[in-house]
């Protein structure tokens, strides 16, 4: 995937980087021409994905870039944490109100155009999120 657009990678080791990640995401979303509402939606989704990593995986990274084929934002959240044992459960809506794993994941998926989770128990998780400029 070749791209000329901005690409930001934020290593997530503490809660302060969550703020960096969502600010970077919002900036790129703004450059892409997303509405203010969508910018906030994207920034909030990044915040949820980043927090999952900091709280449950003990660290990882979030990479934000632009989609090359059409105007859109691509977010990849990767960690080497425990993995998600039950992805379906983690994506259930009611589950997001708990404190456990998967907090905010259903919401992030709902506002995305493309959403994919790759996870291996004991090895880690990668979450791929894309949203296109309407």
């Amino acid at each position: 995937m070749s791209d000329a657009g901005p690409r930001v990678r934020v290593e997530l080791t503490s809660d302060h980087e969550i703020v960096h990640a969502r600010k970077a995401g919002r900036e790129i979303a703004q450059q892409l021409g997303f509405s203010t509402t969508d910018q906030v939606l994207i920034a909030t989704a990044i915040s949820e994905l980043a927090r999952n990593i900091v709280l449950h995986a003990g660290g990882g990274a979030i990479e934000i870039s632009t989609v090359s084929s059409r105007p859109g934002i691509a977010i990849v959240a990767t960690d080497t944490g425990p993995g998600i044992r039950d992805v379906e459960l983690a994506l259930q809506d009611g589950y997001s109100t708990g404190i456990g794993l998967g907090l905010g994941l259903p919401g992030a998926r709902r506002i995305s155009d493309e959403f994919m989770i790759e996870t291996r128990v004991g090895h880690g998780t990668s979450i791929f999120f894309r949203k296109y400029v309407p």
Binding site: D15, V19, V40, G104, P106
Partner: protein, 119 residues
């Protein structure tokens, strides 16, 4: 991160956009101590500078509200931006048992009703 000011019988807190999880925790402790020290009856949490309120932010606002209520004070969150409110609904985030007002003025009015504080 955040500013706490005394305003009559009320405490007025502005939450910055870059407030982190740890800062939220510190704020909770500071607010708790100040509420007790000043015997405050009402606390206004102004979130108008916040461009993102995620699930953790919602939970902290709920926690602050509950802790302050135990100390005998009522909290009102004001200034939620339209885009933030929309994102909260889209992401199914909840502010249960948290009083909200449009802006500072409305928050003062609401607290007046809730606490009959002299402001």
């Amino acid at each position: 991160m955040s500013v706490v000011a005394k305003h009559g019988d009320l405490l007025y807190v502005t939450l910055d956009d870059d407030i982190g999880d740890h800062d939220m925790q510190t704020l909770l402790e500071r607010l708790s101590a100040m509420t007790i020290r000043h015997k405050s009856r009402g606390v206004i949490l102004d979130v108008s500078a916040m461009e993102v309120i995620d699930s953790f932010g919602c939970r902290m606002l709920q926690t602050i509200t509950t802790v302050l209520r135990i100390h005998g004070a009522r909290a009102v969150v004001c200034g939620v931006r339209p885009a933030v409110a929309f994102a909260m609904v889209q992401l199914a985030l909840r502010l249960e048992d948290v009083e909200t007002a449009l802006d500072f003025e409305d928050a003062v009015q609401l607290l007046h009703v809730l606490t009959r504080a002299h402001v």
